[in-house]
Symmetry: C2
Subunit: 494 residues, 2 copies
């Protein structure tokens, strides 16, 4: 037992170092590396994947994990959970053929720049062969990793959100569909016109300046992470002390970068506020994607689109753009950032229509993974389904099936966590307000009190517990989507 | 033999992947990573160093290299050279205690941000404990790696420039000292005043724009590498297809970024023009630091400070800075960029006084490594010696002993290659002119013809031959410092 623990810890050091490498390579490829460099570097990524695979499937490591797993009740809580997850991971990793694993690492590295080009040029055909191979791998993955409890798409769903399967998601999305779809149809019946002031040019450097201000308002520790530019905003963290976000500045759509900054900083706070004792273990970072997204959505929507927040910070925004916003008062601004309308792009969608975008992807993934739908038919299927839910048809694939980067990474099963995240955010908000007046606390000028509550209830645990466990500890109640639907209907009925 | 070759190639793939990781980590730490992130990440760097060390000292790998080495005459030229170098490297790596090697990796990672802070705050004491440990390691290294042929400082010199030892460098620097020092004293006797126009503000973004133009003039393939900002400009390459440079924009010293861009692009061309067949081997990249520096110095000084070059490109510079340069004609500009004067900072030194800066460092390193001089005495020693050679005394350590990053990386033995590089550049220039009129070729608007000559004579070989071999092949003559001294005295006598 002691020998197994010692070996486990030695191997864990190496796995963590490779995690750092993966973090860094991803960061580099999306922010720095030139087009042809990515192609060249991806060959190295394949070798690194191979080595990581060798570490995870090292028989001595497997033996150590198995030994610790068999005696897990004698371990402390954090290590017991970690060993449970490692045991499952070792089991799963062993099931994947090494050559397929290595080839897949290379494939997704190469797919990314092609995806960017395809999206920019509205050319799905360019990306299609890559996506077909990715889907092929994901389908094979569901076979390799099948267990008594998990099969088909459930295998992928569980990778992103443990304990959530199609049965649960179907119930969640059905509830959304029943109560929200008719409501959204009513609210968005009349097309909204973007006010002229919002169409002005807002210089990128000024947007960046204001987003840096927002990182300060949210008490993000800038000595432990930077903000940079990439095609699609994202957060990537390694431990509590290296947490990075990216942003994208559209000069004719200034609010995009603002809400991306708040959203990504929400993710980043979750990483930065994890208990430092979890650095050097595999129990740091977020507990799941859904819980991670609950943090970003909480800050972005519940806080970042509230009157209470902008009562304090709108004057600073006006100062940053004195010409553009001279005739725009707080009410105009709040109405604009809380507009609900039918639109094409998920990441630019408003709080109300957002979950419908996710519902569409969930349904498509179900069909793709179960082989009912083929990659070549995706562009048309997307358009048809989109029209059914939103009453409008995307004019291009750039605004349709090519809009999200996730499939280029092979992240099938990821999207549903976005809707789950928003729902969890509402549940947390409900219980946070029982402890203190959340909106009143914003008068302090920053989100310190909110950060503190989330650190104690959610962040500090890192991934040392399952996400449903953490939600139960934080709110005293299991996941309940009613808080979310009530919150949306209440807010947009006003 | 065949089995040994197969194993060697498999292990080489992994070593190359770790080289890529090292390349990327270095790039990230100097351009992106936040201050505290570097401290956290450096723990991972230590683990990665350990793994690299394990690969290099894997008994099976050593056996494979030894087998191939014993039968090296049956290998092709490239592989034979590579095995010779690997044999020496394996032998050397084995001699370094693993724990010291790992600790040193972590030390140099942590030393870098401290060095930057110490330099910014003119606080040598902050950096001193780190530098002491680094020097301590370097001294121990000379003991560990000692052979019949190499001892003391020679061990370090050979790491950066194979086949060059103190005996050779002493001769080279003595020649420089005898012919150049008195000449420089005469030429720089009268202090030169920086013209007022050069002290104006030249906005960083415009400087960057012009430097990007220069990368175009030099036919740098931008699809295979980027230019970014860092404290100290540098080039870092991985294979032919990922070659990156950095720059630093001083708004009150616009020519600094211009010559850094030309210098670093010179390095970068060497990497990009290596024969592509050497990718995936350990025979790519530059043959040595001296030869690498010969390329950067050739472009920076021989080409980049010539009338022929600026006759074509000065109009573009004027266009970029129409206000600042409205009253400055080509002659004024050429006089300014070819001024020789006594100054403190090596990287900002002119072509003529530059080698004296290197000579100073060479002498200091000799004394530090041989234990005649201690780290605590460096600031004062630097000032005294500097005054002896230049007749002026640095007012701060920032402008003295703290000015270069090299020692923070533990790169003792590196500096002398800078002077060697300039000397080789002159030798290459002499022979290039026998083949075609180099300055006349610049009328084409780019350096394509020069690049072509250097590709065929120098770049294509990568590191598949020793640097002295390449110089002999390129010019038909062994290294001869007279071309350099003749060139300098001739140019600055005008």
């Amino acid at each position: 037992m002691e020998k197994a623990l010692e070996f486990y810890k030695q191997q864990r050091r190496k796995i963590i170092a490779f995690n750092y490498v993966g973090f860094l390579v991803g960061w580099d490829m999306e922010t720095d590396a030139a087009e042809q460099s990515i192609m060249a570097d991806s060959e190295q990524v394949a070798v690194i994947s191979e080595m990581t695979y060798q570490l995870m499937t090292d028989p001595e490591f497997e033996q150590a994990v198995a030994t610790l797993y068999s005696q897990r009740d004698s371990l402390d809580d954090v290590l017991r959970h970690e060993i449970e997850v490692a045991y499952k991971s070792v089991r799963d990793t062993k099931k994947i053929p090494p050559d397929e694993y290595a080839a897949y690492g290379e494939l997704t590295s190469k797919a990314y720049p092609v995806y960017v080009k395809a999206k920019n040029e509205n050319n799905f055909e360019l990306f299609r062969p890559y996506l077909e191979k990715i889907v092929d791998y994901c389908r094979k993955q569901t076979k390799w990793l099948q267990t008594d409890d998990l099969a088909g798409y459930d295998v992928l769903l569980d990778m992103y959100e443990p304990h959530y399967n199609q049965a649960k998601y179907d119930r969640f999305f059905n509830a959304l569909r029943e109560r929200l779809v008719p409501f959204v149809k009513k609210v968005t019946a009349t097309p909204v016109k973007t006010p002229d002031w919002a169409k002005q040019t807002f210089p990128a450097d000024k947007q960046k300046e204001f987003c840096e201000y927002l990182r300060g308002v949210m008490c993000f520790d800038k000595s432990r992470g930077i903000m940079k530019v990439s095609e699609h905003p994202f957060t990537n963290g390694f431990g509590t002390d290296d947490v990075r976000i990216t942003n994208h500045y559209y000069e004719n759509k200034f609010d995009s970068s603002i809400f991306s900054a708040i959203h990504e900083t929400g993710h980043a706070l979750y990483e930065q506020q994890c208990d430092k004792s979890l650095n050097g273990t595999l129990s740091g970072g977020g507990a799941s994607l859904g819980l991670h997204e609950s943090q970003s959505r909480f800050y972005e929507n519940v806080i970042g689109r509230s009157r209470a927040f902008w009562q304090v910070h709108y004057p600073v925004l006006k100062q940053t753009f004195p010409e553009q916003l001279s005739d725009v008062n707080l009410d105009d601004f709040l109405a604009y950032i809380n507009t609900a309308e039918r639109s094409f792009v998920r990441t630019e969608a408003d709080e109300l229509t957002y979950p419908l975008h996710v519902m569409l992807r969930y349904e498509i993934e179900q069909k793709v993974i179960s082989n009912e739908l083929q990659v070549k038919d995706l562009p048309q299927y997307w358009k048809t389904k989109f029209n059914e839910y939103f009453g409008i048809t995307p004019p291009t694939d750039t605004l349709g099936v090519l809009q999200d980067v996730h499939w280029a990474y092979g992240n099938f099963g990821y999207f549903p966590t976005y809707a789950l995240g928003s729902a969890i955010a509402s549940q947390l908000f409900y219980y946070m307000n029982k402890d203190f007046d959340v909106y009143a606390s914003l008068q302090s000028g920053n989100t310190a009190k909110i950060n503190e509550w989330l650190r104690e209830r959610v962040h500090k645990y890192g991934s040392s517990k399952y996400p449903d466990e953490i939600l139960l500890l934080a709110t005293g109640e299991a996941f309940n989507p009613d808080y979310y639907i009530d919150y949306l209907i209440n807010k947009y009925s006003r």
